[in-house]
């Protein structure tokens, strides 16, 4: 078996400006702990609470997106596989913080997700605000009702276009990546 070169891994993370990186299943407890560590770190770098919550909020929405995607699938084993495939990076590059995540998605879901993301990408900030309002004002009292709001919220808080990609990885799955610069 080839030994993993941790230094290479670390150098690669450095190269992209990654400050924190996590891979594996995100439990609520892990999300809270990483979130705390992230905020403690940001407090030493950024003065404004609002800016800190911006980065934190994108971190939370990205992790919850992965979880929500996994949990709506009927099969437990598949849910676990998707949760295990989750990767999350928070970093700082060229003067901006970013949150970048990746996870497996069913290939059959790619088209719909891609269309949704392209639509969000094309929106102006004003259009994002009205799309946000529209989702918030409908589906009242419906369970799992945050659905769809997360992506729009991230795009609203982003300072640049959202960046995404889908890469085919194995039978029936793609690897979905999403980067938000704040």
């Amino acid at each position: 078996m080839e030994e993993m070169n941790i230094l290479k891994l670390r150098n690669n993370l450095n190269k992209y400006g990654v400050i924190m990186s996590f891979t594996g299943p995100f439990s609520q407890g892990i999300i809270e702990e990483i979130g705390d560590a992230l905020r403690n770190y940001l407090e030493t770098k950024i003065n404004s609470k609002g800016e800190i919550f911006k980065v934190f909020s994108i971190f939370i929405e990205q992790t919850q997106n992965i979880k929500n995607y996994a949990y709506q699938l009927p099969d437990k084993e598949e849910q676990e596989e998707i949760l295990l495939s989750g990767v999350l990076n928070i970093g700082f590059k060229e003067g901006k913080y970013f949150v970048s995540s990746g996870n497996m998605v069913r290939s059959e879901d790619v088209e719909e997700l891609k269309t949704r993301l392209e639509e969000i990408q094309s929106y102006s900030k004003k259009e994002l605000a009205s799309a946000y309002r529209e989702i918030l004002r409908k589906n009242r009292k419906v369970e799992n009702s945050g659905a769809g709001l997360g992506l729009i919220e991230m795009a609203r808080k982003a300072s640049e276009d959202i960046v995404f990609d889908f890469e085919e990885i194995e039978n029936g799955y793609h690897f979905f990546t999403l980067t938000i610069r704040i």
Partner: protein, 123 residues
Amino acid sequence: MQALNIEATKSSPKIKFEPEAQKLTIKGESYPEDSFSFYKEIFDLMERAVDKYDEFELEIEVSYLNTSSTKSFMTLLDIAEEAHQEGNDIQVVWYYQEDNEHSYELALDFKSYLELPFDIIAK
């Protein structure tokens, strides 16, 4: 109605219902794993409270809400708005830390969707 006191956790706010004061207070941060399940009991409480009391105050001081909690807050505020439309005396007071735009912008969003008295106060 009975008083209620739910202590805050890292990802869920403190919730206090005081029947004598006719007031519900929500304070803290909110990003629980399942926000709908967390707030369901509060929706029920709010429905009963505005049914029972003609005057009611909702005090909110949240520094952070994730999107599914935002959705739950909208539901809660809609219950208050409905009571207001029916002629109840409902007051919402939203406190935020001065440097926390996240909380301030949430308050502005909510206020713009509603007609009930909604004060936004910096601390």
